[in-house]
Every structure is written in structure tokens, then in C-alpha cells.
Amino acid sequence: MISVLCVDDEPALLDVTKRYLEQNGSYLVDTCTSVAEAIEKMRISEYDAVVSDYQLPGINGIEFLKKLRNSGNSIPFIIYTGRGSEEVVISACNAGVDAYIRKEGEPRAIFINLMHAIEQTVKRKKIENELKFDNALLEAQQEVSPDGILVIGKSGKILSRNKRFTTMWEIPEIVQEMDSSKEITRNIKKFLINPSGLLPQLECPEIQGRETSREEILLNDNRTFDCRSAPLFGPDSEFYGRVWYFRDISERKNAETALNESVEKYRVLIESAKEAIFIIQDGFIVYTNPKGLEMIDVPQDQIASRNFLEYVYPEDRKEAQDRHTKRLNGEPLDSLAQMRIVDKSGEIHWIEIDAVIVPWNGKPATLNFATDITKRKLAEQALRENEAKFHEIFDNVNDGIELHELQESGLPGRYLEINDVTCRMLQYTYDELLQKNPLDIATPEHSIPLSEIARMFKTAGHVIFETGHRRKDGTIIPVEINGHTVTISGKKAVLAVIRDITERRKQEQAIRDSEQRLKQITENAEAWIWETDADGKYTYSNPVVEKILGYSSEDLVGKLYFYDFYEPEDRDKWKSLGLAVYRDHGSFHRFVSTNVNKDGSEIFIESTGTPIVDHNGNLLGYRGASLDVTDRKRAEEAVKQSLREKELLLKEIHHRVKNNLQTISSILYLQSLSVKDEDQLTVLQDVRSRVTSMGLIHQKLYQSSNIATIPFTDYIYDLIEFLSDSFNVDRERIRIVIDILPSDLSLDIDTGIPCGLIINELVTNALKYAFKGRDKGIIRIFLSRDNNQRFTLTVSDDGVGFPEGFERNSQSSLGMTLVSGLVDQLGGSLEFVIGKGATVNIRFSQNSQLGGLKPEKPENGEKTDIPHEPMENQGQITVDP
């Protein structure tokens, strides 16, 4: 929609024009008939174009145009008139008319012409306005740009430049006015350190072609320009020239340089800093200086591999994390913190650390300054411990400690400091005591006179003495004072330890009592109590020695050795034995030695002694007690002698019994020589063998080392030998095998005699009857004792066996009657086994009360150890025919 104001003095024409223009709806037409009216309308409304007649009442169209243009209004203005003189047209053009339309010809064509003119004019006006705006914009932009802008045409002529350009290149006003490209480039050249770079490009823009360029150039006045250029093309891509932008970046450059220098300075500072510096970001150490590396003892390239907390001592991690978080959150913190860190080798360091927040690569980080304070910390700790220790000692020692003034005279002044123990000891409060002087407390009696104490404090500076202290309740306690002079704030004072020696006094008394008691006991003792040194020389002896050995204590102590009293013939032996005991630090108990009394008589002394050793185990000597056991010893000897005599007597009796039995045996033999009857001869022989078997028992008894028991194996061998002899046994024909377990079996006389007789009867019986009508045979004698002291005696043969109808009770012969009776006497059982040959089993126990067994070697509970083979070699008894 184009709004048009039509001005004409002919209303009819206005009406036609309005109608025509508005007919297709693209025009809005307002009309008026005078310029005055038109100006009024234009004040109220805005129009896109004005169509005005030339000939108007009052002011004509040209004047109207001039009026508008003079007022700055550039609205499209079309003269539409019937008059068309050349002057009017010229003046209209001069006044700035946009179109001139004649009202001549065919009206339809005129209106089309008019419409075209209006549209063209409005459009052109619009473009013009836009162009003007663009230019103004461009110009404004150029003028405010911080960059100097230079546009150089194809031929090297300067097409455009802004103000900034002239100021930054300091182009004088004269040159500006001259607007000479050559002058301007000459001015630029003045600043260039290397003109061959930029200058040809400015003089001949086509050198760089279609490329854009950028370069920093340093001017000889130390400024730095950032120079950029781009080619300028026309609508048909035609090369017009090149646009240059110059930006003064000197400040930035200087800042950069300054920053670089500053960074270097800080780097040196940081690298050589005595403090460790850490930058921690996102929980990792992103930077540390050499001191920091040294502190945590980790290579630079491995630092960031672990969370910083891992370098912190576990107990301190929570606090370190808290501080780090608070620091990053900007919360208030104590400036310095102390914590422990652990280096690679696991060593703990105390550090004092402070931090600030810094940006690091665009993100917040903490910059930490740490100082190793381990030594200081240890020193502090040692100091604290020492102090604590001192207080601990001061207040908890068992002794009182006091500090008091020392006067010029050497006498004490008032108390300066007292520990708790002193207060408790003396029953005063701390404050009460501070009002006092040691002389107020001490009793007048001292182990050293007071004047001497004073003198010693002045000269030696140290005194130990004993005195009494009067307590608040009036009681007096004995004390030992151990005082040293000290200098406190330039003044002489005494630091003294007060020891309550009540207990010590009691103990001393107890020791004295004990010593007295011991002295009385030892001196009144029945026993000779003595001590020797490590060599055996007497160092102490109670007076009893005189009663025993005839020597006084004075004769012994420091002069004689324990072995000096031994009997001369055995002295060397007993001396070396005694000294061996000394070497081994052994004890001896009731050791009896034979000694010689001063009067030469023999004395038996029974001694008990223990070594005295020092804390290193070195022998100091021996201490012990001895008794005169001469009477007892003599009595013992007498008893032994009596016993020996009795044993001899008993042996003699056995010998005589045996001799008597042998005599009977010989009588029976001699008697048998005169007997012709075979039966009588047999009877005599049987009796003889019974007597002999008993005689042998008595022989074994008197030969035995133990008078009460019979070595039964020997006995049986001897018995069998005798029987073999008596019966003229042919060893080729009859073998007698003896098997006794254990082989050293012993029996007492009450068991041995019946047992021997039984064997005699059974073997005799076998020899007489078993092998009648036979070439050969074996007789076995088996005697064993089990662990329960039960005996088994078996006599067997492989002969003809018991006669038919044989029964134990029949006791058909005297032999069997005897066997049966003897078994009963033993309290045993008798069994006849009838089978191949004859076997008699007898079982019995030895009543230990009757005689007692000879002590035997333990059998180890294993019977298999004992050879069970018949002792055939010994058992084979042969008598030549």
C-alpha cells in the first residue's frame, strides 16, 4: 500500500486521480487543493509520496518542493502538470524533484505513467534511504572501531581509511588533507623495522591475490600491531582491492612479556623456596616444587598418580580433607594447620601447612605452603615429655622434694617450692609450708652438727645428713636430707630430697635383731656352722667346731681348708672330690667324711652345704652345717659287722646241714654196698637221692650271695647231674632238657626244698620207668614264673606213659605220695596228663612272706626277650657206662 498525497487546484481532477489510483487497492490517496492545506496534512499524516500540480493558488508546486527539501524532507515528489516549459522542468529538477509527469495525451496512459513514476520514485527513494543508512552505519562503525581500517584499491590508491588508522600510524593532518596514497604509505614506512614485508603489499594489493593475511609486526617505536587483510570483491567477483585492519596489541604484548618475566621470576622463587609448595586440584597434586618432592620423596612423574590424602598420615586424613573442602568452599579456616604426612619410605613428617585458593588452568585449586616441622615437633614433644616427666617425678616420687633459700651463713631460708610428698609427709598444706623455714620443722638433733651442715653447703655445695622432722600433729619422723645448692634467679638456694627413713630404721633394727638372733642360734647350736671361700678356706665357724674337731674358730678361720681335717691316707681323694663339687657349684647333703681330731682320734662328720654365689653366678664360697656322727657311724658299723657275722653263721649252719646230709648220703651209699637185694638197693638209692637233693639246696644257700634265696637254675642242673650220675644215664639214649624262665630264677628255701624234691621224684620216676624196653627218650623239665609270681613246673617224657589204671589218688608208690604231699605243702595244683608219654603239671605260687625273692632284674614286661629255647647243651648229662 502506497499512501500518496495529491495536491491540485482542480477538485475534479483530484477526484479522477484518486479513483484511478485506488482502483486496484494498492494506493491510498489523500487529496488537497493548496500547498498550505498539504503542509497541514503532512504534519498530521505520513505519506510515501507527494503528487503536486505546478500551477497552484498561492505557492506553486516548485516552491512547495523547495520548502520541503529545505526543511530536510526528502519524500518522493512528483510534479504532475499541464504546463511543460523548459524553465519549469529545469527549476523542478534543481529543486530536487523525483519525477515530472505531463497531463497531456490519453488520460489512461497519463495515469499509468503517473503510477509508474510514483512506484519508481518511492522504490528509489527507499533504496536511497537504505543506502544512506548503510553508509552512515559503516562510517560510524569505522569511526568507533579500535582497529585502524585501510581500504586500498586495485591500483594502489587508498579508497577508504578511518580515523583510528590515521591516529595509530600518526599521519599528519597535512598528509590527510592531501589524501595522497603515496604520502600515507610513506608515513607508514617510517614506523616499519622491516619495510619489505608490509609496504609492497600496501602498494600493490594484488600481490597477495585472494588470500587473507594476518601478521604481527613490531614497530620501531616498540609498538606491536596485529595486521590483518582480506581481498575486496565486487558484485561480479571482480577484484577491487584489499581491506586492512591494524590493531595496536602493544599493551597485550607488553603484558605477555611482563607476565612471562613474572612467571619466570615466580618459578625461580617457587623452585628455590625453602617451603614445600603443592597445588592440589580435584584431589590430586598437580604441581609441587622440588622441596615438596623432597618432602614426600616421590618422583615428579608419579605424584599425580595418587590422591593427595594418600600422602597424609591416616589419622590426619579426615582433618586434611575437611580443610581442603572448606578452603575450596571459601569457609573460614585457621590459617595454619599441623598434620603428619608419610613419605615413600613410610617415615612420618610433621608439617605446618597453609593454603590459598588459586585458579589453575581455569579451575579452582588450592596453593599449599608446607614446612617440615618434624624436628621442632619432636623437640616440643621431648620438652613436653620432659616437663611431664619432671612433674611426674616431682609429685610422685616417694621422697619429698623441697627448694629453699640459702642464707649467707649457710643456714636455710624460707621454702620456695615443695612437692606433694613433702606436704603429705609433714601434714602441712602447701601454703602453710611456704610460710615456714626448714629449721621450723627440723628437730635439733642432726647426724651432722648444724654448723657443719652450714659450712658444707657453703663450701662443698652438697650435704647428706639425717635428722628428725616434726609433723603438724607433733609426731617426729626420722628423715634423710640430701641437699644440693642451686642458683635460682641469681640467688643461692638448696634443692633437697627428704626421705622418710622410718622404714629403713625399722629394717635396720630388724636386721640387727635378726643378726643377733642368728648369732645366738649359731653360737648355741649343736651343729658346727661354717662358711668357706671359693677355695675352701674357712671364713666363718661357730664355736661348736672345737667340740667336734678340737680346733677353735680362730684356729680355722682364714687359715685352714675344709680338706685339712680329712684322714691323711684319703685326703687327696676327698680333696679333689670336694673341689669338684665346688667347681660345679653343687650342693651336698649329709655327706659323711672321715676326719682327724686335733687329738688324733678319728671323727666322722656329716656335712650339708650349699654354694654362695654372687648375682653373676660366681662362686663366693660355701655355707653349711656339720654334725659329729662318729657315734652313729660306729653304731652302724657295729650293726653291719653283727649282720655280717650272722650271715656267716647262717652260711656255716647251711654248710653243716649240707655236710650232715652228705654224710647221710655217704652212709646210705656205704650201706648199699652190703645189700644184695635189688629192691632194697633201689630203696636205698631213692632215699640217697632225696637226701642229696635236700643237701644241694643247703649248698646253694651257703654259696649264694643272698643267704635267703636259692639260684634255682644252678640247683636244677646240679640235681639233674647227680641223678644222671646215680642212674648211670647214657647220654646217647636219654636226653634231659631243662628250660627255666627266667633263667636266673631264684626261690626261697620254703619253696625251693619241696620243689627240688618234687623234681627229684618225678625225674627219678621217669629214669626208672619211662624208657623200659626203649632205645632212647627225652625228659623235659620246664619251670617258669609269670608276672603274677605264679609258677608252672612241668616234668614230661616221651616214654611209655603212666601205667594203666594210674590215678593220682592211688598213690601207688612212695614217690607219688611224696609229690602229692609236697604239692599240697606248696598250696599248688597237680595234674597228670596221660597221653604220649607221661606229663605232670604243677602250678603253685610262692608265698613271698615266707622267704622273699631275691630282687631280680626287671623283665621289661616282655617275656619274649627271654630265650625260650631249651638249654640242651647244659641239660645234656652224660655218664659213661
Binding site: 654248710h655 655217704s666 655218664v879
Partner: protein
Amino acid sequence: MTGKKILIVEDNAIVALELKERLSRIGYAIVGIAGTGHDAINLARKTEPDLILMDINLKGDMDGIMVAEQIGTFRKVPVIFITAYSNEETKNRAMKIAPAAYLVKPFKEQELYSSIEKALGVSI
């Protein structure tokens, strides 16, 4: 071998008789029986035996070994000691005399006979 003179020194007369009887039966001449050391020495002088059977344990103040020593001073005659004791001390003492045999009671009869034969064989 028969007819050899044997002196028996044995303080038990009955035992000596048995011995005499046994030896006589096999042909020896028993020239005497002595019950004490003194008798033995006297008989040894008087009967000049070819062999002495000597019991070590004798009545009186001399035992058989001492008697044998005494006899050895005037007559070289083999001695067979017979004893019921067999302790080492006695045996050692007896061995110093270099007896023809040393028989411990009870010995086998045959042992006695062979000892006698051997002793007489050596002495002849």
C-alpha cells in the same frame, strides 16, 4: 693204672669212706684218709701217695691249699682239689699250687675218675 696210691684228705669221715669205697672198687689203693692238715702232711710223708685228693675246707688251722703247699715242700705229688666253694679268691690261691685238677662239688663221678687218670698219667 691199678694199684696207684691215693691219699684222701677230707674232714668228713663218712664222705671220705664213700670216696675210698668208690675208688677202691675201680682199683686204686687208698693209702690213707686224713681229716686234718697235720694228719695229711704226716700221711703224705709216710705213705708216699701217687695222688692226693684234697678237700680245701678242713677242720683246724690249715685249709687244703695250705696243706698242699706244705706237702709240696717235701714231695712232688699231684693234688686234686675238691671244694664246695668256688669263689675266685680260693680258686686263685689254689691255682698257685698248680693242682692236677680243681673239682667243684657236686661233680660227676666220671669227672673225678678222668681227673685222677689224667693226673696219674702225667705224673708217671
